[in-house]
Symmetry: C2
Subunit: 325 residues, 2 copies
């Protein structure tokens, strides 16, 4: 019997090839996976006409509905509600003041009826008046303990396994991955590094103003009840320019709130990738596009179909939705 000797070099090449082909195991074979792989291959290949230097390989991802679930309501709203309840003992007046009364009575209809003004009020009261350090700790405590009502899992386990694989696949091909979300920048930063491998400095989001103060002789940043920036819709290209300072070559979203980010990405020169996650799986996750009180997808879907952007059909394209417990 002959021995088969495999040299480390040959084995190394084999492993590399295998890893590449298997980099997206939760993506079923189909046009969505194919479009991702062919884009990444083209821009990473020195001999390709579509080659993009490493420092320009910027990929941006919406968060709510794109990297994690956003139903039945945006998770940051759940955080705000839980925070209001935790603060209620010091605010007896909330028992008879809207929208706080609605929160304390779990009356979602009245809360919804309070409209954008009511929700902004809720966010401001629950998110400000404390230092950035205090807020970070509150977010960390909440994200470690709160659970989703339907799936009974921590919210950080309701991230999409195929998107985790995509982020890792992009970074393995020297992309820099950013979050560009309408959500609060300080609400995301405490946990996204561990969950997505995206460091705080690569998070773009909505924010309140902060102010430098001195407390016990030490500088602190106080979170003020004043909006600094809303990173949604037309604000996304503004936020991308402000934080990143160059145009992404790849953008992924899931709603009309991402339309301008996708258009801004598409308008650059050279090869581009624009993708949408379409929520089509009401068994394993949720099925919705329009009308919807979260992540409404209408105009962006039409433009995707018209311009040949990649639309991920969650039910058909993803063999697994969430990471194994």
């Amino acid at each position: 019997m002959r021995k088969i000797v495999i040299s480390p070099i040959v084995l190394g090449a084999f492993i590399t090839t295998t890893t590449r082909a298997d980099g997206l195991p939760s993506w079923n074979e189909g046009p969505a996976k194919q479009s991702i792989v062919s884009f990444v291959t083209a821009v990473s290949d020195h001999s390709s006409a579509d080659f993009v230097p490493v420092n320009e390989r910027i990929a941006v991802f919406d968060n709510d509905g794109t990297l994690w679930t956003e139903s039945p309501v945006y998770f940051q709203l759940v955080f705000a509600i839980d925070r209001i309840k935790a603060m209620a003992a010091d605010h007896p007046e909330w028992k008879t003041t809207q929208p706080f009364q609605a929160v304390l009575e779990d009356d979602m209809d009245t809360l919804t009826a309070s409209g954008e003004a009511g929700l902004i009020n809720l966010i401001m009261v629950s998110h400000t008046g404390i230092t950035t350090g205090e807020f970070t700790q509150i977010v960390k405590d909440w994200i470690a303990t709160a659970k989703h009502p339907r799936f009974n899992r921590p919210y950080t386990q309701l991230v999409f396994q195929p998107m985790l694989e995509l982020l890792a696949y992009l970074r393995a091909n020297d992309f820099k991955t950013f979050i560009v979300s309408g959500g609060g920048i300080e609400f995301m930063r405490p946990w996204v590094e561990q969950v997505y491998g995206i460091p705080p400095e690569q998070v773009v989001g909505s924010s309140t103003k902060t102010k430098l103060e001195s407390r016990d002789g030490k500088p602190v940043l106080l979170r003020l009840p004043e909006i600094n920036f809303i990173n949604d819709k037309g604000g996304k290209p503004v936020g991308i320019n402000q934080h990143i300072g160059r145009r992404p070559i790849m953008a992924f979203g899931n709603s009309d709130g991402d339309l301008q980010m996708l258009q801004w990405t598409a308008a650059g020169e050279g090869k581009r990738f624009m993708g949408l996650v379409h929520h089509t799986d009401d068994v394993r996750e949720y099925a919705y596009d329009k009308p919807s009180h979260v992540g409404e997808l209408d105009v962006a879907l039409k433009q995707a179909q018209q311009d040949g952007w990649t639309v991920v059909d969650m039910k058909a394209d993803w063999s697994q939705i969430y990471p194994a417990e």
Copy 2:
């Protein structure tokens, strides 16, 4: 005669060691260089009590007066003046309107007398009303051609060679290097990657608001004559928190405008490095601290002496100021 054989592995080890020891060749031996090397060694050493994980090795640098010269006036003001002159043909009214008349007549006394309001007016008119893409091109054209009146060199050759070496030395030790400057973020981004090796997404600076518009069916960002953020003094910790989202472990400045950034860095837990460039060399560069119309250094120098921050004496500590031509 015996041959001496040096194996590639031994040679490699030798080169590595040499490179490390020689990583700061323009820094004279002395307490400043020693404090840098001992800090970087301590936080990079796994076995050290001061070890800092790679993802937390954030180093921030002021730009004007810290990474490049800022005399006789901030270079961005020269850019604004040149731009006003270039725009003057379309603005005959400027011949009799201040502060534009002063600019066109090279009357620096009257320009200075116009105060902060006059200078902001000048910056707004020269920096806004065009798209971000157009502004980037204007900056690129200017920086490629303009020359410093005393040194007769492009401004990008008036960067400090020892600081270029420090930036490279930090990155070789897995630091992420950021600029945190009072200067305009969009004025720096077009050239800092090539000059400092710092990519646009690692630049924090002052900014005007921008607005998404459609031009010939393509999205553009219009630069508005409205201040978005002033990244100076107490604004520096705010800007650091907004853009980076974690506290630096190392900060370098040169003026009282950097005091709060240095204090913010110092207030974190664990080993920290706070440094100041003291302009002490009127032969090779400039000598000034207080009073000064650029980079006034007074309170920060006192705190540095009191708290044992590193003060770089440009004349004594740097064997070379600028890169070779």
